[in-house]
Amino acid sequence: MSSLTEDYRRREESITIAHEPAGQGETHELLTLNIGPHHPATHGVLRLLATLEGEVVRDVKPIVGYVHTGIEKTCEDKAYWKVIPVVERMDYLSYYFNAMAFCGAVETLLGLEVPPRAQYLRVIHLELNRIMSHLVWLGTSALDLGAISMFWYCFRERETVLDLFEMSSGQRMHTRYIQVGGVIEDIPQGFAAKVRRFCKEMPRRADQYADLLEKNQIVVERLRGTGVVGEQELLSLGVTGPLLRATGNPWDLRKAHPYSSYDHFDFKIPVGTVGDNYDRFKVRHAEFYESTKIIEQALDGLPEGPFITPDRKIALPPRHELATSMEALIHHFKLVTEGFRVPPGEAYYPIESPRGELGCFVRADGSAKPARVHMRDPSFTNLQALAAMVRDGYIADLIATLAMLDPILGGIDR
């Protein structure tokens, strides 16, 4: 190193930002800076009111609600099976998870048993969705840190996953694949082979991402040691998911409270050590491999049998029965016009979404429409930790921390 660099490094290290005196006057003045709502680094329509002292963030207040569309209110006006496409539009990157949480809550209220094949098909799609969601996160986060090539690589793989969704359900996004009692259709011929090819390819792609990013000095320096918040503080703020796991707490509902036969699969929960942005990045990156493993095991052990509950009061009869069976026709007519009725009660069904605990609360009043649907969206709760993460750090770290927080505004505002 030249003496100039050494001198610069020494002066850089001598600056302590945590104990700079805050206040008004000629030397110190606080600046309130408005970031967003339309800003490429806020990952949606998020507005941040940042209080700055020079380049140091003293406080930040997130302001949300710009894409509030009243989905929960809309749900109260729809029959149970028509709610599914609506709730899928909340967190628009994890639509299978939204549908799963809602269907799980309704199945709990109905006391309905989901056939094993349907549970496995759900797991395959949920994990594909998790990979897809993390790919979008990785691509856009790298973009925020200045690496545009990552964005194209991640969206290339995402395209493959969306093609798989299109093959099994006809839609690329908001697929309405998961239904109350099972899934809408069995997987088509050739789907398993394509998923297997993707599962073979994905770990290699993830290795390439790691090669690109982990050895990149800019990425490492911007992520390591920034945005650190301890485990206890995150827990008190209600934070779950990869953010909590980055501090070393292995809380994952797939392991802690298995649903949809997650206990049949052998996978690990990646955890971090210190809970900085680098750990958050590593935890999500490691989940690429674990999700791939789950998908492969689910394909290997895919049980035979029905893909949706045979209960004709809940699920539509197969198309060919309508031509021969009067009962099937009546059931079809009742389900399509009125829908099914759910006995009165309340249920809360939590699952592990890519961002943490996604819980759906459903209150049934005995009619064919839910009386209340409420989503505990992980992005909404996790956003509360943003101020704790960025306080007394540089504003450039705020952008990196926000990217690693991975908020989805559709889920926050609902």
């Binding site: 609600g65 209110k73 109260e76 802690a256 309340e346 605990e357 209340r372």
Partner: protein
């Protein structure tokens, strides 16, 4: 989830701390709910927190129209060690609904409480920053209540921003 017996034992314990605190217990489809007297909600949750339910997973507002008391606030508590969930419910009347805030116990309740205030008009006493969170700050009415009509609301553009925006008739 505690089973039905466990729920009764918890309720009994809470009644020993505060005789009036628990109005009812509901065990339905594996979900354990304690119906608490609104004035004692914070005591009940504080006691459950000291018993190991240290994580507030979620907070929902519900409108039970046409039942009375109409509004409900539901707290989903989680014990991460035993993987055990319990929910606490407070029922409130629509005239000046108020309940003590639990932000002191769980700082993560801040946004969810603001959301319930925004959507149902429940005042959380002691909340540090009780403002609307999802709806515009000058909005009138509480849209998630069951008697709030759906639709018919003009979309805000520059040409009509002066006229009747956010007013609920």
């Amino acid at each position: 989830m505690p089973d039905a017996t466990g729920l009764e034992l918890t309720a009994h314990e809470l009644r020993e701390v505060e005789p009036e605190a628990i109005l009812d217990t509901v065990f339905h489809r594996g979900r354990a709910t304690l119906v608490a007297e609104p004035t004692h909600v914070k005591t009940v949750i504080g006691h459950l927190r000291s018993k190991g339910y240290t994580f507030l997973a979620s907070l929902h507002g519900v409108d039970y129209y046409p039942e009375e008391p109409r509004l409900g606030v539901i707290y989903e508590l989680l014990d991460m060690k035993r993987v055990d969930r319990i929910s606490v419910k407070a029922r409130l009347h629509t005239e000046a609904p108020a309940v003590a805030s639990v932000v002191e116990l769980f700082p993560g309740a801040e946004f969810p409480e603001r959301e319930v205030y925004d959507m149902f008009g429940v005042e959380f006493e002691g909340h540090p920053d009780l403002r609307r969170i999802l709806m515009p700050e000058d909005y009138e009415g509480f849209p998630q209540r069951r008697d709030f009509p759906v639709g018919g609301e003009p979309v805000l553009f520059t040409y009509n921003e002066e006229q009747n925006y956010g007013k609920w008739q």
